[in-house]
C-alpha cells in the first residue's frame, strides 16, 4: 500500500483499517559517534542502544511508558544478540511491556526501521514507535573458522570416545584462525571501498571534488554543533560530547595530502582516501515517531511528516551497476509516485558512505544518458543545489556506525525542516538517500510541520 502523495487528505481516524493517517517525527536522540577502537571500545551494541534509548526517554519524559513498538538493529551482530533491541529496551527506562523487533538491512537498517514503524502508524496498528540502530566496529563479532565449527558440531554429536577422537582428529592448524567480519561483498570478494572506487572512476569523479565534499561535511557539522543544533539531538556518552571523527579544522590542503586507500590498482585514477571515505565507527541513534493524536495527547512536538519511502536494488554482481548506486534508481521512482521533482525539496540528505558515492549519484541524475538508458526517463532528473545538500554535515564528518546512520539523518532532517517552517511559515520537504551493502538502497521523503 503506497502512501498517497496528498497525505493531508487521509483520514485521522485512529482505528486500524480505517485508512491511512499521518506518521510524524517527534524527535530523536543519539550518542556521539566514535571512531572504532576509540571512546566506545568497551561498549557493546546493547550498551550503546540502551544509552541512546534512555536519552530519548529523558528528552521526552517517556519513563515507564509502553511504546507501540520499538524497532532497531545492528549490521555487525553477535549471535547472542538475536534479541538485541528487546534486551536494550528491557535495560532502559521504558516500560518492559514495550514490544520490540530487530531488523537488518545493512546500512539502510536505521532508515528502514523508521519506515516500517511509520507504516504501522499510518495504518493505525500502533500509536507510537521508536526506530533506531546501533553498530560497533570495535566490539565486532569474531567467528571461528568453518573447519573448527564443523569439528565442534561433530564433537557435540559424538557419543562414544572413539567418535569424539575421530572428530578432534579432523582439526587442522589453519582451522584455529578466527574469521573477523569485513566489508567485502560475499559474491565479488571486493570491499565496499573497492567497489565504490570502480564506480567513482567510471563517473570520472575527481579527487578535488571528493575532498571538497568531505571538507563541506566537516565544516557543516562543526557549525551545527557550534550553534547548538545538536543540543536536543545528541546526548554525550562515555565522555564524548561530539562526534570523534569531526575535524573542524581540516582543510583542502590537509585532505589533499592523504594517499589513496581504495582503487590503488587504478593508478592515476585512484582518488579515494581515508579523508573522503567514512571510517569504521561505533554509535547508536533513535527516533521517536507517532500518530498526530499521540503527539498531541502527550504534548509532544511534531517536527515532520514521514511521507513515503522506496527501496531499490541493483545487479552489481554481474557489473551492470555500481554496488552503492541503488538509491539512484529508488529516488526517481519515489519522486514519480509523489509527483515531485528536485525543485520541490529544500534539503537533500545523501548519506556519505564515500564522497564518491554522493558525487556519482549527483552526476547520474544530471546525466541524460543515465536517466534515459537506466531510468527510462525522457530527460535528466536534474542537478541538486549544493547549498541544500547535507547542510549540517553527514557521514564523512560524523562517521558511519552502519545501522545508526538512518536515525541520525531522520531526526536531524526533521528538526531542520521544522526550524525552517517555524521561521519562514512554509512546509518544506527533505529527501533522504541511503545506500547499503548488497547493492541496495532506501530513500524517503519528510515534509516539515
Amino acid at each position: 500500500m503506497a502512501a498517497s502523495p496528498d497525505v493531508s487528505a487521509a483520514s485521522t481516524d485512529s482505528a486500524a483499517g480505517a485508512g491511512i493517517r499521518k506518521a510524524v517525527v517527534i524527535g530523536g536522540n543519539r550518542i556521539p559517534f566514535a571512531r572504532a577502537n576509540g571512546a566506545y571500545t568497551n561498549a557493546s551494541n546493547q550498551d550503546m542502544l540502551t544509552a541512546a534509548l534512555d536519552g530519548l526517554v529523558a528528552r521526552f519524559g517517556l519513563q515507564d511508558e509502553r511504546i507501540g513498538e520499538v524497532a532497531a538493529g545492528a549490521v555487525l551482530k553477535h549471535s547472542r544478540d538475536f534479541n538485541l533491541t528487546r534486551e536494550a529496551v528491557l535495560g532502559s527506562a521504558l516500560s518492559p511491556e514495550t514490544p520490540v523487533y530487530d531488523l537488518q538491512q545493512a546500512c539502510a537498517t536505521g532508515l528502514e526501521t523508521v519506515m516500517g514503524l511509520a507504516n504501522k502508524i499510518k495504518l493505525g496498528q500502533i500509536e507510537s514507535g521508536i526506530a533506531g540502530g546501533v553498530d560497533s566496529a570495535s566490539d565486532a563479532p569474531i567467528a571461528v573458522s568453518e573447519g573448527l565449527r564443523a569439528v565442534l558440531l561433530e564433537l557435540n554429536r559424538a557419543k562414544t570416545l572413539q567418535q569424539k577422537l575421530t572428530a578432534v582428529a579432523k582439526l587442522r592448524p589453519k582451522d584455529l584462525a578466527p574469521n573477523a567480519p569485513g566489508t567485502a561483498e560475499p559474491r565479488t570478494g571486493l570491499s565496499m571501498g573497492e567497489h565504490q572506487a570502480l564506480t567513482t572512476a567510471a563517473w570520472n569523479i575527481s579527487r578535488e571534488a571528493q575532498d571538497e565534499l568531505a571538507l563541506a561535511s566537516h565544516k557543516n557539522l562543526a557549525a551545527a554543533y557550534d550553534r547548538g543544533f545538536f543540543d536536543d539531538l545528541v546526548t554525550p556518552y562515555h565522555g564524548l560530547t561530539r562526534d570523534a571523527n569531526l575535524r573542524a579544522d581540516t582543510s583542502l590542503e590537509k585532505l589533499g595530502k592523504l594517499g589513496p586507500v581504495f582503487g590503488k590498482s587504478l593508478g592515476d585514477k585512484a582518488t579515494m582516501t581515508a579523508g573522503n571515505s567514512t571510517p569504521l565507527t561505533d554509535g547508536a541513534s533513535t527516533v521517536l515517531i507517532g500518530s498526530e493524536d499521540y503527539a498531541r495527547a502527550h504534548d509532544l512536538p511534531m517536527l515532520a511528516d514521514i511521507v513515503d519511502s522506496e527501496a531499490a536494488a541493483v545487479d552489481f554482481v554481474h557489473g551492470k551497476e555500481g554496488l552503492l548506486m541503488a538509491p539512484a534508481y529508488a529516488v526517481p521512482r519515489l519522486l514519480a509516485r509523489n509527483n515531485l521533482t528536485f525543485d520541490d525539496f529544500d534539503y537533500f540528505e545523501i548519506h556519505e558512505a564515500f564522497a564518491g558515492t554522493v558525487l556519482c549519484h549527483l552526476a547520474a541524475w544530471e546525466s541524460e544518458e543515465f536517466c534515459r538508458n537506466k531510468l527510462g526517463l525522457d530527460k535528466p532528473l536534474g542537478a541538486i543545489d549544493r547549498s541544500k545538500l547535507n547542510v549540517n554535515g553527514s557521514s564523512l564528518a560524523a562517521g558511519h556506525p552502519f545501522a545508526a546512520t538512518g536515525g541520525r539523518i531522520v531526526a536531524a532532517l526533521a528538526k531542520l525542516l521544522h526550524e525552517k517552517a517555524a521561521a519562514e511559515g512554509n512546509r518544506g520537504r527533505g529527501l533522504i538517500s541511503v545506500c547499503a551493502a548488497g547493492g541496495q538502497g532506501v530513500v524517503a521523503i519528510l515534509e516539515a510541520r
Binding site: A51, D54, G55, V57, A58, R59, F60, G61, Q63, D64, A93, G228, F230, D231, D232, V234, T235, P236, Y237, H238, T241, D299, L300, P301
Partner: protein
C-alpha cells in the same frame, strides 16, 4: 564524599573511645522521610501572648503532644518560644530562662524555635533592642545544642500573625527533619500570603519545576526532592553533562533539557519547553554554578567573567524573561543558589563570592516584582556540603570546614539544601519573599 569520621564516632567501640578522648562527636542528623512524625517527642510551648494560645490550637490540630509546662522528667521533641509581644529587653529573661531550664530534656534531633518580630528603625529603641536581642540569644543557644538538635527563629512582620500560612509552614519546616542542617537561622515572614498544602508529604503535587545544573551534586538532589514532594521536574544542564542529566531525569520521571543557561535565548527556551510539554511552570531553581578559584592578585578576566556569567548574569536574564512572559498566568516561585562565601567571603573566591553575594542582592531587589505577579524569589546559601566539589578541598582545610566550624560538627548533604529549597518554592511559603536562608549547620564556610 562520605564522612567516615561521622560513622566512626557513632558506632561500636570507636564511639566509646571517641567519648573517652573527648573528641568532637557529631551526631547523625534527624532527616526527613515521608510519613515520619514531625518531631521525635512532645512539644513544649512557651509564651503568654494571644498568638501563643492560637498557635497551641494549631499544633494540637497537627496531632502533636503539646505541653505548656515541662515536667522534670519529660523528654522533649521541640521547644517553641513565642516572643511576638516583647517590648523591653527585660521581657526576655523569663521565656529564655524557661527555654534554658528544659534544654537538657531535649531529645537528640530536637528543635528549638523562636517566634518573634523583626526589629525595625520605626520601633521604640527598647522594643527594637528586645526584638534584636532575641536573635543573639537564639544564635548562641543554637551553638550550645548537641545531639543533632537545632535552634532557628521565625520573624513575623508586624502585619502577620503566628497562624499565617507561611508562619505555620516555616514552623513545620524547622520542626521537621527537612531542616536537619539549618541551624541558628531566622526566616522572615513578610506577608500573610501563601496556602498550606492538602498533604504535607506532597506539598508540590501537580506542579512543574525547572532545576538548572541538575546533572549532579546539589542540583540532582533538588530534582529528586522536588519530585518526591510531588513536582514534575524539567532537568536542565549544559549539553556536555547530558549523560548524567539523563540518569537524573529518568530517575525523577522528568524531562532532560540540554541547555547552556548563559545563552541569550536560554530563558525563552526554558519557558517554551515548560509551556509546550507541561502547559505550566510553577517553580524555577537557579542552581547551576561554577567556581574558578584564584587569589585576586592572580585572577584573570576569563575566570572572573565566567563565574559571574554562569552564577549571576544568567539568572538575572532568565528572571527578566520570566517576569515579561505572557505564557503563564503567574510567574513561578524562584529560588536561587547563593553561598555562605557570599556572606562571609572566602580566600581565593572573590569572583565566586561576588556572584553569590550578588544573588542575595538580586533576590532582595526582585521580590517586589515577583510579588506583583504572584510569585516569590528567595535564595538559599549552602555552607560546607559534601559534594564532588568540596571533596577536592585539601584534607586539613576540609576537616576544619566540616568539623570545627559548624555547630553541627559536620558537613551538610546535597539533600539538606534541596529540602530547604522545596520548602521555599512551596505555595505555603508564599509569604516569604526576598530572603536568603542559610543551610550551613551554623557555620560560615562553604562553596
Amino acid at each position: 564524599m562520605t564522612d567516615s569520621y561521622l560513622t566512626l564516632v557513632n558506632s561500636g567501640l570507636s564511639k566509646n573511645i571517641a567519648k573517652k578522648l573527648g573528641l568532637p562527636r557529631p551526631a547523625i542528623l534527624r532527616r526527613y522521610h515521608p510519613g515520619q512524625p514531625l518531631v521525635p517527642g512532645p512539644v513544649l510551648l512557651i509564651g503568654s501572648s494571644a498568638g501563643t494560645e492560637a498557635l497551641a490550637t494549631e499544633l494540637l490540630a497537627w496531632g502533636l503532644d503539646v505541653r505548656r509546662h515541662a515536667g522534670p522528667k519529660d523528654k522533649l521533641g521541640a521547644i517553641i518560644a513565642v516572643l511576638d509581644e516583647v517590648s523591653d529587653p527585660e521581657d526576655l529573661a523569663e521565656p529564655m530562662l524557661a527555654v534554658g531550664s528544659s534544654l537538657r530534656s531535649l531529645l537528640p534531633g530536637g528543635r528549638v524555635v523562636t517566634i518573634s518580630r523583626p526589629a525595625s528603625t520605626a520601633d521604640a529603641p527598647a522594643r527594637a533592642a528586645a526584638r534584636q536581642g532575641i536573635e543573639g540569644a537564639l544564635r548562641s543557644l543554637a551553638h550550645e545544642l548537641r545531639g543533632g538538635a537545632t535552634g532557628n527563629g521565625i520573624l513575623l512582620d508586624d502585619a502577620v500573625d503566628a497562624q499565617a500560612p507561611s508562619a505555620l509552614a516555616a514552623l513545620r519546616f524547622f520542626l521537621s527533619g527537612r531542616s536537619a542542617y539549618v541551624d541558628g537561622q531566622f526566616v522572615l515572614v513578610g506577608s500573610p500570603q501563601g496556602e498550606l498544602p492538602a498533604d504535607f508529604d506532597r506539598p508540590l503535587a501537580g506542579q512543574v519545576a525547572v532545576v538548572t545544573g541538575a546533572a549532579r551534586g546539589i542540583g540532582a538532589a533538588i530534582a529528586k526532592v522536588l519530585h518526591r514532594d510531588g513536582a514534575r521536574v524539567i532537568c536542565v544542564d549544559v549539553p556536555a553533562a547530558g549523560e548524567q542529566l539523563v540518569k537524573v531525569s529518568n530517575e525523577t520521571g522528568g524531562t532532560a533539557l540540554q541547555l547552556d543557561i548563559t545563552g541569550e535565548t536560554a530563558g525563552q527556551k526554558i519557558l517554551d519547553h515548560a509551556h509546550s510539554r507541561y502547559g505550566r511552570l510553577d517553580i524555577v531553581v537557579h542552581n547551576a554554578g561554577i567556581t574558578r578559584d584564584k587569589l585576586l592578585a592572580n585572577m584573570d578576566e576569563a575566570k572572573w567573567n565566567s563565574v559571574i556569567s554562569v552564577n549571576l548574569a544568567s539568572q538575572l536574564r532568565i528572571n527578566e524573561v520570566l517576569l515579561a512572559s505572557e505564557l503563564f498566568p503567574q510567574v513561578p516561585q524562584v529560588v536561587s543558589l547563593a553561598s555562605t562565601s557570599g556572606i562571609a567571603g572566602n580566600r581565593g573566591q572573590t569572583n565566586y563570592a561576588a556572584s553569590k553575594a550578588g544573588v542575595i542582592g538580586m533576590v532582595a531587589a526582585s521580590a517586589a516584582a515577583f510579588a506583583e505577579r504572584g510569585g516569590t524569589i528567595n535564595a538559599v546559601a549552602p555552607g560546607f556540603i559534601e559534594t564532588e566539589m568540596t571533596a577536592k578541598i585539601p584534607m586539613a582545610t576540609r576537616e576544619i570546614a566540616r568539623r570545627m566550624l559548624p555547630s553541627l560538627q559536620q558537613g551538610g548533604l546535597p539533600l539538606d539544601v534541596a529540602e530547604t529549597i522545596s520548602f521555599l518554592v512551596s505555595d505555603a511559603a508564599g509569604g516569604i519573599n526576598g530572603q536568603t536562608l542559610r543551610v550551613c549547620g551554623q557555620s560560615l564556610v562553604g562553596a
